[in-house]
């Protein structure tokens, strides 16, 4: 068949229709539960939201005033931990209820191993209508892996203002590296010098030209994913509000929203809220395992303030979503879980979360559960893990809990007290050569009751980038009750309690640090 110009143009006109219909095309048939009493689940995840910078978790700045007012009908967890310090391990653990050495999504671009993939939240809720969206390509990577189990997987780029969608489209399996290279090719905000000599800078400026009315709202620049994919949290919240009426009940929705992940470009009304508020965090020394590019105290304070002001934006938009859910009566039969995938740090010469450390700001994340019909607030202070969320939700919605999950049902929804001897773990092992191989270098953390142990291992052999290890492995022990800022390393005290803690983490490392299979 010969296609002439007129016919080609006619076909071209179908492209916009396809982009609108694509989400519907992506929908898969599902056997929805006929149980009229089945309750819905909404998981709202804000990326890189550390509990250490949240006002109702003890932070001096009022960063989440609106959410604070909603807590009198919730369960609030005060010692909740991510399983890693960045998106890949944290999200994989939340979605599968398994720890990083089990799911093996440890390095950038890692997939979850096939055995664990079967325990993904969407698969286990297979009698529900399952919806998922994320701004973050690293999380979308997993949603792609679970695609067969998701009824509606909203495309990542569909809620971006203007995008480098082509990277996600053409280099989907290698998004991180491709977009990093593109950043270095075109983004002068990173280092100043870019790989491109002439054209990319102009193209980027053209692509990122914002509508003036919206641009005024964000004087520091738009919220972006990797500096190129501009988005507004408002659009994601609007999309959830507009779509939720069409979800077939019962449903489970996973919405992994990028703010307050950097860059911290908050909305106009929150800019400079904390400027000159007189508060300063404790000054902590540079860590000897920090990278050589250490951030000064002034820069740390400046980044921290921008981050705190960005959390205000998250707070305002969540409040808008919550008001909608309440007004529509959705909260009457829906569990709403608010959490994060990892934290963010602004101390010890470190900023953001690209670090080998597992200090509290990097791993302590919020967990708030809005329970249908609850009238009072309950605070939980025992240590809990992101791997506990999946078994808890299965329990609350009358689903069987498969034996392979590593988390426990969270208090207060369990019949018995949580085991006080249970350890809560996190791992950072981005430098290992093979994620299915032995854990030859990394950082492993265990929180048990009020004590926290951190084990750094193998960095001397992995790379010599100014990483000086006093010993290998190198330990840090903190008493989180007496020393919540982790300033006093107790390893040199040599008490039986400290020694037992180190031995236990050492044993755990040898138990889990081998190769997969």
């Amino acid at each position: 068949m010969r296609l002439d110009r007129r016919e080609f143009l006619k076909l071209l006109s179908l492209l916009p229709a396809y982009s609108i219909l694509r989400p519907a095309i992506n929908q898969k048939p599902t056997q929805i539960s006929s149980n009229p009493y089945a309750q819905n689940v909404l998981i709202i995840l804000f990326d890189a939201l550390t509990a250490c910078n949240i006002s109702f978790q003890g932070y001096p700045r009022e960063t989440m005033p609106k959410l604070s007012r909603l807590l009198d009908r919730t369960v609030v967890y005060h010692q909740h931990y991510a399983s890693g310090n960045y998106t890949i391990p944290g999200t994989a653990s939340l979605l599968t209820g398994s720890l990083p050495w089990t799911h093996r999504a440890i390095k950038m671009n890692d997939y979850i191993v096939p055995e664990v993939e079967l325990f993904n939240i969407f698969h286990l809720f297979d009698d529900y209508y399952r919806i998922a969206y994320t701004h973050n390509p690293l999380a979308d990577h997993f949603l792609g892996q679970f695609n067969e189990d998701i009824t509606l997987h909203q495309p990542l780029e569909s809620l971006f203002l203007n995008t480098t969608w082509w990277i996600n489209r053409f280099f989907k399996n290698d998004y991180d590296t491709a977009s990093l290279s593109w950043d270095r090719t075109s983004n002068t905000n990173l280092d100043g010098l870019v790989y491109s000599l002439i054209f990319s800078d102009y193209m980027k400026k053209f692509l990122q030209k914002p509508p003036p009315d919206i641009a005024e709202l964000f004087p520091r620049g738009f919220p972006t994913m990797r500096y190129e994919n501009t988005f507004l949290l408002e659009h994601a919240i609007n999309w959830i509000q507009n779509s939720i009426r069409d979800f077939i009940q019962p449903y489970i929705g996973y919405f992994h929203l990028f703010p307050p992940h950097d860059p911290y470009n908050t909305r106009r009304e929150f800019v400079d809220t904390f400027l000159n508020d007189g508060w300063e965090p404790p000054n902590k020394d540079f860590h000897h395992l920090s990278p050589k590019r250490r951030v000064t105290r002034e820069e740390q304070l400046s980044y921290r303030r921008d981050y705190d002001e960005f959390i205000l934006y998250v707070d305002a938009e969540f409040d808008r979503l919550f008001a909608f859910l309440e007004q529509e009566g959705i909260l009457e039969n829906t569990w709403v879980v608010v959490t994060s995938d990892h934290g963010e740090i602004f101390e010890r010469g470190l900023i953001k979360h690209g670090t080998i450390h597992l200090y509290q700001p990097l791993v302590k994340i919020p967990l708030i559960i809005f329970e249908p019909g609850r009238e009072s607030r309950q605070d939980i202070y025992s240590p809990t893990s992101c791997v506990d969320v999946l078994p808890t939700l299965l329990h609350l919605t009358d689903h069987p809990i498969p034996g392979g999950l590593e988390g426990d049902i969270l208090p207060p929804y369990r019949n018995t007290e949580i085991d006080p001897n249970r350890g809560v773990y996190a791992l950072r092992a981005k430098l290992i050569r093979d994620s299915w191989g032995p854990l030859t270098s990394g950082t492993i953390m265990m929180v048990k009751d009020r004590m926290k142990a951190i084990r750094y291992f193998g960095y001397r052999d992995a790379y010599d980038f100014e990483l000086y290890m006093e010993s290998d492995p190198y330990y840090e022990i903190y008493n989180l009750e007496d020393d919540p800022e982790e300033m006093n390393n107790l390893t040199h005290q040599n008490t039986p309690e400290i020694k037992a803690l180190m031995d236990e983490l050492e044993e755990k490392y040898y138990e889990v640090g081998g190769a997969y299979r």
Binding site: F171, K172, N173, D174, T177, S181, Y195, L197
Partner: protein, 197 residues
Amino acid sequence: MNWETFNQRFQKGHLLKLFLVCAFPFHLWTILLVLNDVEWIAQRTDLSDVIGVGAYALLYALIESFVFFLCIVALGLIIPWRWNGDKVFAQLGYNSLWIPLWPGLNQLYRYKDFASPDFLVEWLFSTGHPLRYGAVVLGLLITIIIGSAGVPNFLIGFKYPVEKNTRNFLERIAFLSSLYIALDIISVIIVLIRNIN
């Protein structure tokens, strides 16, 4: 204009060499910056990521070189029609080397505090001339245009030894650049491997 006149202006061998000359500054710049980034990218993830970033960067450089090559070919359509063959190659080849040089210096100047020589600025201001502020900018522009564009183009156009030597120099650049193109091919293979399911 038709293909016949186009072919008179650009011989096939010259077009390929011209493309290689166009690719040279873009690849050289990219490779230098990628090498400068090796440490922090490896620290961020691992060495395979460095290779990946380098492969994508060379791919982008190849595309940018091609777009630039098209612009240079378009530029070739406005130079005097009595010049053909070798002279066109020498002229366009030279221009395709100096044009990317200035954006590179501009990046260094804007982002790396690569300041103008103090003595030059001081001398310009010491003249006390009422146009001295404008004179700095004007003087720089004139220097750039005359120094890097006008004089060499004139010499290539009208002095055969200059044209011949320029052509010889461009031939060597094209040969060196062909090594970069070989790296581009390897980069394409790396990118394909990284994106295979």
